[in-house]
Every structure is written in structure tokens, then in C-alpha cells.
């Protein structure tokens, strides 16, 4: 599978370095290595979700209980989670670090991903959620550390978009 293992490892190591103890996730192709790494890590509480919005609740509970957390999902999972993000994390000022695979953007070959890709950034902007792209393995650690810091200091959601350049290794 041409999903980048080295990029996935860099992301996972950065989440660990940011003291992430709970990861909630719903699988998609680009996230397979990341979810396996969380599953194989006895120090990580991995919560496999039925639907992404649940992860907002899990992260809220984890935060109340003093644990740092992150959500791994596709952009369609983000779109699915909007009510939870608005009426749980934004309403109650709860930090929420979201790692969102940026499907449906430049280079997307799957027609069914393209519509969601059109709206991801606009919806993040509409909710005034600070977001940034993860594009380069060398900056992943720094960006994840900074995103976690901002989520915790602002008590707000922060989104990092996992780009095709970072996650996919086929010749382009």
C-alpha cells in the first residue's frame, strides 16, 4: 500500500512527543499505519469509533480527566462531526486536536472524494477553527507540537490537514 509509513511514523512520534494518551479514530486508507501504530502501543488508549462525532465526546471526557487526546479521521469524518464540534468543544471550550486526511484535494483520483474536499477548508474557516497543512516530514513534529499547544491554550479545536504530499508515496 503506497501510504507512507515513514510519514505516518513521524506523525505518530510527534503525537507521542506531545503527550497524547488517547486517540480516537475511524479508519480510512491514509490512516491505516497510524491506527496500527496506536493499536500496537500499550501506552495509547485507541478508541475505534463507529462514527466520528463520538470522538469529540471521547476527547472532551479525556480532557476533563486530564489526558491529552487527538482525533484521526477523513475530511468526511470531520464534516460528520460538526454538531459535536459546535455543541461540545466550541460551546464548552474544550481543546480538540484533529488530524484530518485531506481527501478530494489536488491529485485526488477518486471521484467520490472530490465533493467533500471542496468544502473542508471553508467549513473550518466558518467555524473559525485554526488549521494548517502537514506537507513535509521534517516539519511534522514541530507543527503537531504547536497545534497541541494552541488547542490547550485556546481551549479550542485545532485542525491539521494531512496532505497527499505527506501521506501518499506513488510516483506523481
Amino acid at each position: 500500500m503506497p501510504v507512507s509509513e515513514t510519514s505516518s511514523k513521524a506523525i505518530y512520534d510527534a503525537l507521542k512527543a506531545a503527550d497524547t494518551r488517547v486517540i480516537s479514530a475511524l479508519p480510512e486508507t491514509w490512516l491505516v499505519h497510524l491506527i496500527r501504530m496506536a493499536d500496537d502501543d500499550p501506552e495509547m488508549a485507541l478508541v475505534r469509533l463507529a462514527k466520528e462525532e463520538e470522538g469529540v465526546g471521547v476527547s472532551t471526557g479525556a480532557h476533563f480527566a486530564g489526558a491529552r487526546s487527538a482525533m484521526l479521521m477523513q475530511n468526511h469524518g470531520f464534516l460528520q462531526s460538526i454538531n459535536g464540534i459546535v455543541s461540545c468543544s466550541l460551546l464548552y471550550k474544550v481543546p480538540l486536536l484533529m488530524l484530518i486526511s485531506d481527501r478530494g484535494h489536488l491529485g485526488e483520483p477518486d471521484p467520490w472524494q472530490t465533493e467533500g474536499g471542496r468544502y473542508t477548508r471553508h467549513v473550518l474557516d466558518a467555524l473559525r477553527i485554526v488549521h494548517s497543512e502537514l506537507r513535509d516530514q521534517d516539519t511534522v513534529q514541530h507543527q503537531i507540537s504547536e497545534a497541541m499547544t494552541l488547542a490547550l491554550s485556546s481551549l479550542s479545536p485545532v485542525a491539521l490537514l494531512l496532505t497527499r504530499d505527506l501521506m501518499w508515496e506513488t510516483p506523481r
Binding site: 494518551r21 488517547v22 488508549a45 478508541v47 475505534r48 469509533l49 463507529a50 462514527k51 462525532e53 463520538e54 470522538g55 469529540v56 465526546g57 471521547v58 476527547s59 472532551t60 471526557g61 479525556a62 480532557h63 476533563f64 480527566a65 486530564g66 489526558a67 487526546s69 454538531n83 459535536g84 455543541s87 461540545c88 460551546l91 464548552y92 471550550k93 474544550v94
Partner: protein, 189 residues
Amino acid sequence: MKRIDCLGAIYDDLKECAVVTIMGAVAAELYSLGHRANFFYLEHAMGLASSVGLGIALAQPERRVVVIDGDGSVLMNLGGLTTLARYAPGNLTHIVFDNESLLSVGGFPTATSTGSDLSAIARGAGIASTGTYTTVEDFASATRSAIASSEMNNLVAKVEAVGPAGFHMDLELLENRFEFARALRPESS
């Protein structure tokens, strides 16, 4: 059976627990019995109370966590039952007050009024310990056992579709949220 009587019967048992409730009548009734710092009323995000409880239970395995849910909320997040079943933290007790009604928003009947059985759904989702209760005594006794046990339990209490006259609580959302998080800090336990 009235929900307020069920809550009154277990009120003392909630003293040492982290308690997460749904919005509306459940929150207002528990609050009316006497607010405590370890009570969090999720005044929106319907369906996510059990997910919040799961997050607390996983992050603090030593703490007893009680989620007080309702039929309308559970029906909005049936998939969440499968997630609870999958991780089944032994420190989590999931109570569902089933009044077969969306009482707080006009009393329209939910699907439990036409035969959907939440305990059967919970069992089908994989939650091994679940039961339906119709008397305050049985409910309170089962809740006490559930809180004390090392197994995750789901309890469905069939209650009348009656609630308080109003839902006002003299507690700001953020005040409740920050107070609750502070109460969960290990040094305060």
C-alpha cells in the same frame, strides 16, 4: 416510576463518581436534588454523553464514572453503544432513563414508544450486562451493584414522561465545565 424518584434513590451513591448527564429534564432534576462539583450536565451535543463518559473512564481507570442518558439521546448515537461495548471500561455505568418521549422539546414519542428496546439494542451491541427496570427499588439496587462492580453495566429505567416545571439551573455552562474538570484532578479526589 418517576425519574426524579430514581435519581433521589441513587443520589448518595453518586457522591464519589464522575457523573455526566444529558440536557433537559435529567439535568434539571439531578441539579434540583443538589448540585455537586462532580456532576457535569452536557447541555447540548445530544448523543455524546456516553462518549464523554467513555473518555473519562479510559483516562482515569480508577474513577467510577456514571453516565445518565435518555432514550432520545441514545437513539441519536446508537453506534456509540457498540463503541462502549468494544472497550467496556469496568469503571463505567451507563444509565438510560427511557420515558419513550422527547419530553424537553414537546413530548413527541420516540421509537421506544413503538417497540424499540434499548436494553436489547445494548445487548445486541455487545454490552454483556444490561437490564430494564420498572421499580425504583430494583433500579436503585441494580445501580448500586453496577457502580461497585468491575464490569461495565447498562441500565434502562422505564420512567413516566413527566419532568420539572422548568429547566433553569443557576449554573453557567462554562462554570460547570471548569468546576467539573477541577473536581476530576487527581489531587482533589
